[in-house]
Each structure stands twice: as C-alpha cells, then as structure tokens.
Amino acid sequence: MSYVAVRGGAEAIAQSNRLLDALRALGGDSAAIEIDVIERQMPILHGRVLSEGGLYHPTLAALALKQSLGDPLEAAFMLRAYRSTQPRLATTPTHETNGMRLIRRISAAFKDIPGGQMLGPTPDYLQRLFRFDLIEEEPQTFRDIARGWLGNLPDAALPTSFPKVVDALRGEGLLPQAEPCDGEPFDITRAPLVFPVPRSASLATMARGETGGLLALAYSNMRGYGDVHPTVGELRVGYLPIKLPHPVTGELIEAGEVLMTECEIIAMYEDTGTSDKPVFTLGYGACFGHNEVKAIAMAILDRSMQAGLTHGPRNPSEDPEFVLLHVDGIESMGFCTHYKMPHYITFQSDLDRLRTTQSKHQAREKETTDAR
C-alpha cells in the first residue's frame, strides 16, 4: 500500500454539510427550535457560549447553539468568527459592578452580609432526581409555571443593588488596601500573549476561557497542587447596566445591560515578614452569563497566579503561561480536532522513517545473528 497526497472530496463535504443540517429534522416531526426558546430555556448553556465567545450578543449566541446542534465550543467559535468581522466602534468607560442589578447574591464567609443573602435561581439545593413529568410537558402546564410564580408580585420596593462584602472587609483592615488603577488594559483580541503578561490580560483571557479548562486547573489547586484554600467572599449574578456616551450630548446613558456572574474569593493571609500588617489575599472572577463554576474557578486561578508571580510558580495553576495558554476553548478545540484532518503527507513521512528504522534494525539483527 502506498500513501500519496490527494485532493478532492468537494461533493462529499457538500453532502456532509447537508446531512448535518438534515440531522436536525430527520427522524421526527417536531418543530424547529426557536432562538427565543434556546435563550430562555437553556440560559446556562446560552450564557456559557456568550462568555466563551467573548461577545455578549444573546440572539447570535442562541443562533450559534442552534446551528451547531448544541455544541457550546462550536457555538462559541461562531461568535468569535462573527466578532472578527465587525468593526470596533468604541471602548466603554470603566464600569464598576457595585451597580449590578442582582438576581442572586451569596457569601460563604459571613451569614450576615449588608443587605442579606438571596439565593435567586440556583440548582444548589436540588437533589438531582429526575422530574419525569418534564418529558411530556403540556403547553398549558408550562405556561402555568410562570403564571404561578409571577402571581402577587410585590412592588419593587426592595433594592437590587447592594454594597460589596469585600468593601466591608477592606474597611475593617482585613484586606489589602487598593488604589484604583486606570492604566490601559491589555486587549487580548488585538495582541498576542507574550509572557509575562499584565493581570488585565490574565483576567480577560480567563473571562472568555472555557469553563471545563478553567475548572480543571482550579481543581488541581483545590486538590493539593496549590494552596489557595478559598472562601467565597461574595458570589453575585445580575445585570450590569452598560453606559455609553450619547452621540449628541456626550452624557453617559444606559445603552443596554449584560447578565454576568462575579465572584470574589478570600484566600489565606500571608505574613510577609515585614512591618506590613498581615491581611487576607484575594482572587477575582467574572464572566458573561450565569456561570458560577467559571467565576469561582477563575477567581481561584487569579489568586494562584498572583501567588506564582510573587513566589515563582510551584505548580501548574500558579504558572500564568501554563494556565492562560491552555484555557481557551476555541484554541484547544481547534488543536484537538485538527488531528482528524488529513495528515497524509506527514504520516507518510512518519512511515518512511519507521520503515528506514525497521530496515536498519533488521540489518543490525542480521549482523548480530551472522556474528554468532
């Protein structure tokens, strides 16, 4: 058998693309999934695509999920591809998250936090038992769920924005004092990561990193390849109002809002051995959409990489180069799946070398046998 370079397959590729599309409709008479349904009924998956795609475009994220048959990596890839075709019109002013309109807010550090703890929508207390009634959910029953929950809504007298736990701790001198830094952040969409990179590059890379990749590296730290030992100071989910200048008046106005998750972890204090007062150390995580695993994992990695920068990396999760070059889902998926593309030439080269090596081996064996 010989191995040669080939070309062709255009018709097969075209048919494969048609088949992939047909797969959505084959074998059933169900209606096509509406974009709105994906956005509303799969908000967690949808949010993951928003954050890993790095573009907060809810409609296109839902379309990407539909088009990719529910593959979040492919869907995020589509958002990235789309964004690369769009002009950059602006950079927003710096947004602070104190003004987030929260739907969930918890702390694992204190039970009594200013404003209180609100669980909001969470699967944390579910028993992971199937609800078989959802297999065949009647439209009326489905509509009644929302009606039932919305009944007797209280007036919006309660605030939806609250002070932050870390600010209170900082006020008590338990956290390092920090001065706002207004330097130009690193733009990972325009510049490659050349190490060492500033923290803004780390945060931006992790904000659009793949959830599983971030989790795996953070988990290695949690299990013992590191010593962050985090406590979730505050975990928030809510809508951040986006302010942009009015084209005529220049006044900042609200142009929309983004759903985001934010987490601050408090890690062990460090006694620096200097005259500085020992204080807790901190890590920060944030991403588009409702994705608590990602925000927590990012906060742990932020802290572990800061430790790595201070003491030198002692394990993979403290090494910014190791972490940041392995958490991007689009890059890692692309590298992984490229292996299934034709490698006929390189593999033929491998074969040639193997056969040459085998011939040499055979010759040596023969020489050894002849010598006996």
Binding site: A90, L102, L119, L153, A178, C181, G183, P247, G256, E264
Partner: protein, 157 residues
C-alpha cells in the same frame, strides 16, 4: 397631570424597552414629518466592555458588546436643524436611527413629542415590570438565618 419627563439619560433604555414595531412606526412617520437626515451614517459594530474588578481595583476587558450609534438632524420649529442621537446595545441600524429620531423629537419638543412621550412611558413601565420580577427573585429567596440551637428541628430557610 403628567409626571415630569425623566432625564434624557434614561430615554434610550426606555425607548428600547418599548414595543419595537411601534417605535419604528412612530419614528418613521416623524422622520418624514421633520425631514430627518443622518448627521452621520448609523454605524453598527462592537465595543470593548471595560470593567474594574473589585479586589485589586485593576481594570480589564470582560469581553465585547454589540453597539449601534445613530445621529440625525431634524427640522425644528424655527426652521433650524436640531439633533437627536442614539447609542444602543444592538446591531440594528434601522432601530438605532428610529431611536435617534424619537430622542430628537422629544428633546426639542417637536410635533409628535407627546406620542414619543407615550412610548417612553410605556418603556419605563416595562422596565418597572422587569425590575419587579427581579426584586421578587431576591425577596422570595432571601435567606432567613437562625441559630440551630434556636431553630430546633425546624430547618427554615
């Protein structure tokens, strides 16, 4: 008696929350009525979202958002041109241009301002409805802690 008009900084969010078909219809009519022209071509693209993180107060880019801007000139009462503008997290230039027309009409009290105000109020009411739902998400799930010794076997939320 009508309530005072909210500040212009809130109009974009309110108009965007109103029914989009009605926004487009009213703005289309008012654009013709006031000889609307684009002061600059509406543009759709992206903006980097700059965020200040809360532990070391560094800034970084959380990601990108779609942004569309529009700026229109309208013929005012005295024959002079006045301007309206819009910037919205969307990529629909037609919608942004419509918002700019309503912004200009309402800001300068042109004919049709009352109808624009109605749409504004509808949008504000919709925003309030959403705010009520979000507030309920918080209030209904607020944790009522108690010490275990006090609570006995009653595992209240």
């Amino acid at each position: 008696m009508t309530t005072p008009i909210p500040p212009r900084s809130l109009w974009m969010r309110a108009f965007a929350a109103a029914e989009s078909d009605r926004v487009l219809a009213l703005a289309g009519r008012l654009a013709i009525e006031h000889g609307a022209t684009h002061r600059s071509a509406p543009r759709a693209g992206l903006a980097l979202l700059r965020l200040r993180e809360s532990v070391m107060l560094d800034t970084f880019y959380l990601g990108e958002i779609p942004v569309t801007t529009a700026r229109v000139a309208l013929l005012g009462r005295d024959g002079l041109h006045v301007e309206g503008g819009a910037v919205v997290m969307d990529d629909d230039v037609e919608f942004a241009a419509a918002l700019a027309v309503l912004d200009g009409v309402l800001a300068h009290g042109l004919a049709g301002a009352a109808e624009a105000r109605e749409l504004l109020d509808e949008g504000l009411a919709q925003i309030e409805r959403v705010a009520n739902v979000r507030a309920a998400m918080l209030s209904r799930t607020k944790v009522d802690f108690s010490l275990m010794a006090e609570a006995g076997d009653d595992n209240r939320a």
